[in-house]
Each structure stands twice: as structure tokens, then as C-alpha cells.
């Protein structure tokens, strides 16, 4: 699946998007955050406070307990500050 990062999540990880293949057992958005956090220092820093992170699956806001099965594009970002 494609994973996208925005704002300071993107800056901390150092890339804007990548394609990942999470192992079996990574079934929710929260699981995916946990797994990504183990992939390096930037990831650990970006996800150090998982409660702050917002997520979207296929361009729709989702909660941490949402299943990622079937997702084409998962995005992680800080609380939004538009308008």
C-alpha cells in the first residue's frame, strides 16, 4: 500500500510518500503507526506521540482502530490548520 506523510510528519520522516508491505498482524491504523515507528529514527520521532497523529484511508478521515485491509493509500499528518 502507498503511505503518504504531510507537514511535520513528512519532515521528520524525510519523505513525502512510499510504498510499504506491512507484515501480517498489522491490521489497524494504530498497528501501522506502531510498525512504521520501528523503521528508523525519523519514523520514531514522527510517531512519538501517536495520539496526536491523524490518519486518512483513501482520502477519508479514519480513527486509529480502523482496519487497513483493502486500503490503497494511507496518509498520516498532524492536526489540520487550514482556513
Amino acid at each position: 500500500m502507498k503511505v503518504k506523510y504531510f507537514a511535520w510528519v513528512r519532515e521528520r520522516i524525510g519523505i513525502a510518500e512510499e510504498t510499504v508491505e506491512p507484515p501480517a498482524g498489522v491490521s489497524t491504523v494504530a498497528d501501522l503507526i506502531g510498525w512504521l515507528s520501528t523503521r528508523g529514527e525519523g519514523y520514531a520521532f514522527a510517531f512519538e506521540k501517536p495520539g496526536v497523529i491523524r490518519a486518512a484511508i483513501d482520502r477519508t478521515h479514519v480513527r486509529p482502530d480502523t482496519a487497513i485491509a483493502g486500503a490503497h493509500e494511507v496518509a498520516f499528518f498532524p492536526p489540520m490548520t487550514g482556513g
Binding site: K4, F6, A7, W8, A56, R59, T60, H61, A75, F77, P78, P79, M80, T81, G82, G83
Partner: protein, 155 residues
């Protein structure tokens, strides 16, 4: 009748008069147009902001704004909507966002414009980074914006 809804995310400035003219031209069923324009301030929190850079999630931003525009059209007797959000680097005094809501009567136009602005502030996938004398920082979200949006929740 399909309600005309215009949504644009763009780097360039917008012209409020031209957008209102495009929305009302040739129509005699519009009695009220509420426009909200958000501008880049230079004096936030008592200390000077030199510039703001706006990042967005392309694709999702348009879709999400579209869903909220549809929601506004369902809730209020709106006759036209325009939502324009700028991205990129902006300096104090620059326009950031424009919401136009037209209706036969004023209450619907005010309510829809306020609903859409509350949504854009709290939930649309845009992020602001400020440049100040002491460096750059990402703007933090305000709890008051979440509270403002929560007012519109259906009970």
C-alpha cells in the same frame, strides 16, 4: 435544480468581486451572498509573522471540501457555493481562503458560510508553517476550532 458548487485549491490570489459576479450573473433568485475571506495576519500572538506556507493533501482536500459543500447544500436552502483555498507561501495581508454562500435569504447564507469555515479550520487537510524572526514552526491546531466545528454535529 443542481446547485452550482465551485471548489478550487490554487497558488494564485482570488478576486472576490469576480467570484461573486460569476455566482450571481443572470440569476434573480439570489437575495443574499455571504462572503468570508481569511487573510494572513502579521501580528499573531504579539510577535511578527513574516510569512505563512500552506501545504495541503492534493486530492483529499478537494474531495473533503466537496463532501462538506454537499452537506451544506443538504442542510440549508443554498443556491450557490464557492470555496477557494490558497496554498504556497503567503505574506501578511494576503488572502488565504474564500467561502461564498448564496441563498434567497440571509440566514441560510450566513449559516452555510460559517459551517464551511469552521470545517476548513478544523478538519480540511491543510497545514500552515509560519516564518518568524526566531525561526520557522508549524502552526498548532486550536482546541477552539474543534469546538466550533462540534457545534454543527447533528444530535
Amino acid at each position: 435544480m443542481t446547485i452550482p458548487v465551485t471548489i478550487r485549491i490554487q497558488e494564485g490570489d482570488f478576486d472576490i468581486a469576480a467570484e461573486i459576479a460569476a455566482m450571481t450573473k443572470g440569476r434573480i433568485d439570489i437575495g443574499a451572498v455571504v462572503s468570508f475571506s481569511g487573510l494572513c495576519r502579521g501580528d499573531d500572538s504579539g510577535d511578527r509573522v513574516a510569512a505563512l506556507t500552506l501545504e495541503h493533501y492534493p486530492g483529499m482536500a478537494e474531495e473533503e471540501i466537496g463532501r462538506h459543500a454537499d452537506e451544506a447544500v443538504k442542510r440549508w436552502p443554498i443556491t450557490a457555493l464557492t470555496i477557494i483555498h490558497r496554498v504556497g507561501r503567503l505574506v501578511p495581508g494576503d488572502n488565504i481562503v474564500l467561502v461564498l454562500a448564496a441563498s434567497a435569504h440571509r440566514q441560510a447564507a450566513f449559516a452555510a458560510a460559517e459551517f464551511l469555515m469552521d470545517y476548513l479550520k478544523a478538519n480540511a487537510p491543510f497545514w500552515k508553517r509560519e516564518e518568524r524572526a526566531e525561526g520557522e514552526r508549524w502552526v498548532e491546531a486550536h482546541a477552539r476550532d474543534d469546538a466550533a466545528l462540534a457545534r454543527w454535529d447533528k444530535s
